[in-house]
Structures are given as C-alpha cells and as structure tokens.
C-alpha cells in the first residue's frame, strides 16, 4: 500500500479511532488500528471488541492499494510531531514507512488479517438528531449514571425513543437525570448504551453543531454516524428501572432560584459537610432559601439566599454533591425546585428539556 495525504486530516482521523483503542488489554493486537485503502480514499478502523470506530478519509492519493495495521499510540504521537502539511505512508508486509519533512520512520505493525472484523448491525431503526443537541443530552445525563458494576443501571444510559421524542435517562438509584429532544423520525426503541460509548461519542461531537448525527439502533448494537465517522457499540442487556414512575407528579412547594447564586451558596455550605456525611439542609422561608450544614468536628455553615417561593414551605435534606454535579451542566439562569417532604423525591427543572430527580436524606 502506498498513499499520500493531508497530515492534519490523517491526524484527526487517527485521534477519532484511537479513542476506542483500549489502554490495557490481554489482546495486544487491539492496540493497533487498521488502515485500508480504496481507489481514492482510506478507511481507519479500531476496536476494543465492545466498541468500534471507523473514519473515512477521501482526498487521499492512493498509488498502491492495500491494508496495514499500525500501533495507535505511536502513530498518533508521531503525526502530532511532524510538521509537513502532507505525509506519505508506504507499507510492505507488516512494516510501514512514514515519510514527511521531519524524517523517515518505520512503524512495525501486525498482520491485518488477524484484526477483528467490523460488526454488521442487524435490525436497525434510524433516528436523526442534531449533533449539538445530542452532546447536551449526554452531558445532562451521563454524570448521574451509576459507575459501579454492582448497581442496576450498570454503567449505562437509557435511550428511549417514541412518538418523535428521544429521552436519555441515567440514574444511580439516588438521583435520576432525564434529558429529551424532539426528532423528526418516529422510530421506537428502548436500549441501554454503555457510558464509555457515550463519553467516546461526546469527545467526537462539537458543541452547538447543527450537523446531523444519525443513530441506528440494532438488536445488540448501536451505531452513531456523523459525517465520515462512525462509532459502533455493544448495547447493555440491563433492565432499566421504570423512570416515569419516580418523577413526582405534584409538589407541596415550588422554589425558583438563580442558578449561579444557588451553586455558590451550596458550594460554600458543602465545605462544612464531613466527607462521610454529605448533608445540606434546605429550609424554605417566605421568600428565601436557607442552607445549613453541620460538621460536628469542623464547624457549621449557614447561608440564606433569595428565592421565589410558592406553597407550604418546609425543609428537606440533600447530598449537596448530587445537586452541584447537575448545576455544573445546567445552562438555565433560573432553576426550579419542586419538593414535598423528606420521603418524596424532589424535582429540579434545570433546562427546557432537562429534569433532575433527587431523593432526599431523611432522619436528620
């Protein structure tokens, strides 16, 4: 194989496929990515057997067709260090010569025939969504997912599409985040996508982009396609709890607060929570919200901020970290809290299409 291509384009493509290359694996061949050339372009492919990434690159001058397996880390690092606008790759057997202004390098690859094949996705349903919107949905949910294998929603986020709405839902059993979007397609599906796949996808998506991300949901896999890049992931076969059931339908009290003020106040009070007892007490005043934290060995915090309060008031305890994590990805200026008492879930409205449910702490 012999090709000549734009160095920056190749480097970006290598970065995308490298995102699925495992850091540690018992199958060393997976440290590589595959380059395969056609008449006027190349395809890069890498996988960790749970996820696979593929990028197509055109405007490549192919003087000799073929394929080669290259070590992902070294290739990526090398391309970053080169300075010429173009680069030539020429492979014979499993050696690949890289030629660019900075010198002459030989990378030792492995046999391309030994590399796993791309999976064929069966029974796909297609959903199309704006890239920027998808990125927001991932940001608004992924943080709330359980990260330990032991809990029920194992490292995954629910993707629930029906009647022109796509919802993403994540929970760790103590809080639950829902983010949704309306889409033109009417496909129906309810699958759990691994957190790792979503994080990898998020890295490839750009904030606010109006481009289209097309999602194809199969029985066992899900495929995300934007432009020339494609990410395939295995789906998780976990049962996701009935999230609609936990969203409270009514509340005794509604509080509206300026997000930045709440975040600052909560951050300050949570300093005085001990590391084993993360509890901040919310007391709803007439037009105020008072937050107190008590760490018997370090001190007390007592902060009061303005709020617009409707309803009976009262008090409720939260783990402040749960709220701070959500505020970090919230873009609204004013957020709303609907709450009842210690035993009922509280609902935070953190965006036009972003709802966050937190279970309070009782018995304080």
């Amino acid at each position: 194989m012999k090709i000549l291509c734009d160095r920056t384009a190749l480097q970006e493509a290598v970065n995308v496929v490298s995102s699925v290359v495992p850091a540690k694996t018992t199958k060393p061949i997976l440290h590589n990515f595959l380059v395969r050339s056609s008449d006027n372009g190349i395809t890069l492919f890498a996988t960790d057997l749970e996820m696979a990434a593929r990028v197509e690159l055109d405007s490549v001058k192919v003087s000799k067709k073929g394929s080669v397996l290259l070590p992902a880390r070294e290739t990526g690092a090398l391309l970053r260090e080169l300075s010429d606008p173009t680069v030539t790759l020429e492979s014979t057997d499993q050696r690949c010569r890289i030629e660019s202004g900075g010198g002459n390098f030989v990378l030792l690859g492995e046999d391309p025939a030994q590399f796993p094949d791309e999976a064929k996705v069966k029974g796909g349903k297609r959903i199309e969504i704006e890239v920027g919107r998808m990125l927001r949905m991932i940001q608004e949910t992924a943080f709330a997912a359980a990260r330990e294998e032991t809990r029920y929603a194992i490292n995954g986020v629910l993707l629930d599409a029906s009647a022109g709405t796509v919802r993403m839902v994540a929970t760790d059993g103590r809080r639950l985040a829902i983010s949704y979007a309306t889409v033109p397609t009417k496909a129906e599906c309810k699958v759990v996508v691994p957190l790792r796949a979503l994080n990898t996808l998020a890295r490839a998506l750009s904030e606010g982009s109006k481009e289209t991300l097309s999602i194809e949901v199969g029985d066992k896999q899900i495929v995300f396609v934007t432009g020339k890049a494609q990410l395939v992931s295995q789906l998780l076969e976990t049962r996701f709890p009935d999230y609609e059931g936990v969203v409270p339908k009514s509340a005794d009290t509604t509080v509206e607060i300026t997000r930045a003020v709440l975040e600052g106040a909560l951050r300050r009070s949570s300093v005085l929570c001990s590391s084993d007892m993360r509890v901040v007490r919310f007391e709803i005043g007439e037009q105020s919200l008072r937050m107190t934290a008590d760490n018997s060995s370090r001190g007390r915090a007592d902060v009061t901020i303005d709020a617009v309060v409707k309803g009976s008031g009262g008090s409720i305890n939260f783990n402040p970290d749960y709220i701070l994590e959500a505020l970090r990805v919230c873009q609204l200026d004013t957020i709303r809290l609907d709450m009842s008492d210690d035993s009922m879930p509280a609902k935070f409205t953190l965006g036009e299409a972003f709802t966050y449910i937190v279970m309070p702490i009782s018995g304080a």
């Binding site: 330990e148 032991t150 809990r151 029920y152 929970t171 059993g173 103590r174 809080r175 639950l176 709890p241 009935d242 059931g245 936990v246 001990s274 590391s275 084993d276 007892m277 993360r278 509890v279 008590d294 018997s296 060995s297 305890n317 783990n319 210690d342 035993s343 879930p345 449910i357 279970m359 309070p360 702490i361 009782s362 018995g363 304080a364």
Partner: protein
C-alpha cells in the same frame, strides 16, 4: 437382609454419642457428682483415662433401691415426666450417661448414703450389670471406669496419646470448676497431682490457678442484673486475647455450654480491640429462668438454646461492653446496644483534660537550630519529671486505672526516630510508638464519637432495591425492621420472598444497597445488627487510615504533643483499628536483663 441389632450393639452405638473419649466420661461423672451435691470431687486417671478413670465424691450417694437401675438406659432420678424437661435444674437429665459408659467399659460403683451404715457395690462390664452387693464404703460415691472401649477396638484405636487426653481432662475440669467455686476439685494423673482447686476462692483466683497466673492481673469483674437474667463473671483485658477460642467460657445456669448468638455478641463487644485471628478470654455465668433455656439439643449437652436468644445476646453485649469501658471509668451510652456503644455520646462523663499535655507555661523551647540536619533530634520539653497526665487528672477527675493506658504515664520526654517511631519515657519503661498506628486509633475513635453524637440519617433510594430472601430471612427482617431503621436502614417486606430497601445509612450511602442487605443475612442470621455496625466500623477504619499521619512524616513538637494528649484519652490505646500494635514497652527490668545488669 434387614436384621434387628442385638441390644449390646445398640447400646454401643448410642454410647458413641455421649462417650467419645475419656474427657467425655469425666464430664458426665463430674456432673453426676455435682448433681449429687458433692463439695469435694477427686478425679484420678491412669494413662490419660484410657486405663482408668476414678471419680470420688462426697455427695449424697445412690439410694440402694436405685442401684439395680444405675446402668439401665434412660434411667434417671432427676426427671419424672415431660413437663420437667422445660425447667431442668440439674446437669444430668437423660439418664443415659451411666448406661453409655457401662456399655463400653468395665465399671464399678461404690456408694454409701451419709445416713446409712452400709455401702453398696455394683459392677457393670460391657453392658452386663451385676446385682448390688452390700459392702463397707466411705460416705459418697466412688465411680471407677476401666479399660474404656475395651469392646470397641475401632474407638480405642482413635484415642489420642495419654498426655493429650490428660491435658483435655485438665482443661475440662478447670472449665467445669469455674461454675462451682463452692466445690473443691482435685485432679490426679498416674499418682501425680495435676490440679488442686481449693474451695471458696474467688473466681479470678480460680481462673488464674487454672489458666495461668499471668492472666490474673488483667481480669475485669462483670456483674449485672436484668429483669429475669443475671450475668456474672470475668472478662480479660483484650490484650491478653488468645489465638483460639478455648477460653470463651459461658455457663448457663451452671452448665458449661455454648449458644451461637451469645458467642457472637460477646465477640462483637470485643471486636475492635482485637487483632484479626484473636479470640477474647472470658468466663461468664448467665442465670436465666430454666424455662427460658433448652438444654436438650446436643448429645453431650455442650450447646443450649435460648427462647429469647436475641435479647440474651444483646444483654451480654451490653454487659461485656460496659465492663470493657469500666476500665476507664467511662459510662456506657444509655439504651443498651447502639452504634459505637463504646463511646459516651457527646462528651458526657468524659474526663476533662487540659488542652495541652504540658500547659502553656511549660511549652517546650524551640527545637535546637538546624534540627532537620540531625538524624535524631532529642527533645526535652519538660523540666518537671512529674507524669503529665496525673497532674491533669488530679485537678478534675477521679484517678483512672492507669495500667490500661500507658500514655497517661509518660514523663513528657520524647524523640522521633526514622520519621516513624516515637520513643517515649513512660513510667513502666521505654515505650516505642508507631506514630501511624497510634494516630489511626486516635482518628478512629474521634470518628466514632462524632458518629455517635449525631442523629442517624438515611439516604432514600429513588427506586427501592428489591432483594430476594428465604422465608426465615424474611421473618428475621420483619422482626428486625424497627431496629434496622434506627441504624438508618429502611427495609420492608416485598411480597412473599423478598424485601425492599427504601433507604440506607448516609455514611454507607456509597455502598451497594443489595450487598449491604445480603451481608446482613449471610451466614448467621442471628447476628442481629452486627453486620451494619461492622460495615460502619470498616468505613471508619478506612477513613481513619487515610487521614492518619504516615510513616515518613516528620512531626513537629506541637504535633507530637497533641498526639500524646489524644492518646492519653483513648479508651483502648494498644492497637490500631486493624489490630496492629501501637506501642511496645521495654520495662526497666527487661532492659537490665538485656544489658546483663541482672539475670
């Protein structure tokens, strides 16, 4: 072909349950002597009991009319009908021991009632009994058991060496004797006196005589009366703990017996004082109304069951805990068993110490210049040699038992070496302290104290976690529901074979709820709240470990002094929470011996 076994064989098989080895014979015979009201019991052995076991008592003696039935099975004078089974006051009640022993040995009974002129003799060999013959005999009973298992060669081959059997019998008599301080015991092996336990000594004296004089100094008396239950006895200082559970002795209404939830409860009370793999030492007499105890569940009567097992276990825990606390004059938290029961809630009754070990006036001079350059910096912060703690204590609190906390007896001279060890001058000698281990213990106690002082809080779960349980576990959870809720764990039955977890203790909120619940029911479902508390203790351990000063941290004077002040307040300063020792003391005499100043 199915054949009915001849009666000798049936008796031999039955005997196997009761008579396992010489010590089981001794146990039955000594119990019989005690049941007969003996005040003096002498046990003689030949070849560890394999050749002969003779038990001589000064009890009531056999009624002559009972003698023909002495070796008959299920013949007893202690029980008449089924109704008697639930208030057994005697040690024997099955009437099986003599029948079993008689089936597998050559036996002879010589017995005379105190009011009779004449004694009687009866023999039994391999289950065949002679008719009683009148003869002269001292008042009381002499039981001879010779050639044990002479007709069961398989059993005889399995006997251990004479010395091993003798050692076991010695242990057994020691154990049995603790329940009866009013009885004089003598054990003689091959004409040599092995054990002599005069009567009317204190429990501690007898305990030390039986199990080693070095234990005598570390025995704490225990005595507590509850409604319908009494606990008395001794617990040994945790630092005396053994590598086996041999000296975990519990007597239920005078009977040496185990009961699993009580065993667990007492171990639990000792838990954080003991290094892994160590077992506490104690001898506890538990007195309960006889109808609260089922003694008829084990062939050798070595185990009993309580009707109110959980309550008894809880009270034992409380009692032992209180005794361990009593060492420092610390009161126990009210309300019985609570999380971290070893610390009084929020400062109550805690000795008030001065804020600094040395007081502001005698703050140490600044360390010598370029201290960091010297490998070891000698610091002599106090001029006065008076023990610092004693001064503080004398001011406001009654004196405490200082044997227990060596840090209350330091003179104030110290030296940090290798950025890991502190050398202290204590009144007992030279103390070498592992700074990390000691600080870990300090942190651990502080965390527990804080925890005890604040209200239990629960993180509610969004969706209840459902855990499948067996019907027995379900019943346990239903019974424990309220108690668990007090610890912050909210569970409720969920259909026939499951429970739902609605909230978990906030301190443990990061744990998986299902695992937490499973840990409650694995193994011993009578363990009560212990696993929740163990999970808490583990959490405190790891937090303490993370926040403690490390080896390699050079400490400044203020830090060392603070550590010593904190250490002086510790209830149990000898081990870090993982059980590693914190301090090693070389006493004056030890050092003298080492330097050959004396031999």
């Amino acid at each position: 072909m199915i054949r009915k076994l001849p009666p000798e064989v049936v008796n031999q098989i039955a005997a196997g349950e009761v008579v396992e080895r010489p010590s089981s014979v001794v146990k039955e015979l000594v119990e019989n002597a005690l049941d007969a009201g003996a005040r003096r019991i002498r046990v003689e052995l030949r070849a560890g009991g394999a050749e002969a076991i003779v038990v001589i008592d000064d009890g009531d003696g056999f009624l002559p009319e009972d003698l023909p039935l002495a070796f008959a099975s299920h013949a007893t004078s202690k029980l008449q009908g089924v109704a008697d089974l639930d208030h057994i006051g005697s040690l024997g009640f099955r009437g099986e021991a003599l029948a079993s022993i008689g089936a597998v040995a050559r036996c002879r009974i010589l017995s005379r009632r105190h009011d009779a002129q004449e004694g009687w003799e009866v023999r039994c060999e391999g289950g065949v009994e002679t008719s009683p013959q009148p003869c002269g005999a001292p008042a009381g009973t002499r039981m001879e058991v010779r050639d044990l298992f002479f007709n069961v060669p398989a059993r005889r081959r399995f006997l251990k060496s004479a010395s091993a059997e003798r050692a076991r019998i010695q242990e057994l008599i020691a154990e049995l004797s603790l329940a009866r301080l009013d009885v004089d015991f003598t054990l003689v092996g091959d004409d040599r006196e092995i054990l002599r336990l005069p009567r009317d000594e204190s429990l501690a004296q007898r305990f030390a005589r039986c199990f080693g004089e070095e234990l005598a100094k570390g025995l704490l008396p225990v005595s507590r009366a509850f409604d319908g239950m009494k606990v008395e006895g001794l617990v040994a200082e945790p630092d005396l703990a053994r590598r086996d559970g041999k000296l975990e002795l519990m007597f239920v209404n005078g009977r040496l017996a185990r009961e699993s939830s009580s065993l667990h409860a007492v171990r639990q009370a000792f838990r954080e004082y003991l290094m892994g793999g160590r077992f506490p030492i104690y001898a506890l007499q538990v007195a309960l109304p006889p109808d609260q105890v089922d003694v008829n569940i084990h062939p050798r009567k070595a185990e009993v069951r309580f009707v109110e097992a959980r309550m008894v276990a809880g009270r034992l825990h409380e009692t032992v805990r209180a005794a361990l606390l009593g060492r420092l004059g610390l009161p126990m938290a009210a309300g019985g068993v609570v999380i971290a029961p070893d610390m009084p809630r929020a400062r109550s009754g805690f000795p008030q110490l001065p804020p600094s070990l040395f007081g502001d006036a005698v703050l140490p001079p600044p360390p010598p210049s370029a201290a960091g350059a010297e490998p070891y910096v000698v610091r002599e912060p106090v001029a006065a040699p008076a023990p610092a703690f004693a001064r503080g204590a004398a001011a406001s609190t009654p004196p405490v038992v200082s044997r227990l906390n060596p840090f209350q007896r330091v003179t104030g001279r110290y030296l940090q070496v290798m950025d890991l060890y502190l050398l202290l001058e204590g009144q007992d000698g030279l103390m070498v302290v592992d700074q990390h281990a000691l600080h870990e213990r300090v942190m651990y106690e502080q965390l527990r104290q804080q925890h005890a002082a604040r209200a239990v809080q629960s993180q509610r779960l969004l969706v209840p976690t459902v855990v499948e349980v067996t019907p027995a576990e379900l019943a346990w959870f239903e019974a424990a529901q309220e108690a668990l809720q007090q610890e912050g764990l909210h569970v409720a039955p969920f259909g026939p074979g499951a429970i739902a977890v609605h909230a978990v203790p906030t301190v443990l909120a990061r744990l998986d709820a299902r695992k937490l619940v499973r840990s409650l029911v694995v193994g011993d479902e009578t363990a009560g709240m212990a696993p929740v508390r163990e999970a808490l203790a583990d959490r405190f351990h790891s937090m303490a470990c993370r926040s403690a000063v490390m080896s390699g941290d050079r400490l400044n004077d203020a830090e060392i002094q603070q550590l010593l002040v904190d250490a002086a307040r510790l209830e149990h300063p000898h081990n870090c929470p993982h059980g590693r020792p914190t301090v090693l003391t070389f006493t004056g005499p030890e050092l003298e011996r080492y330097f050959r100043r004396r031999c």
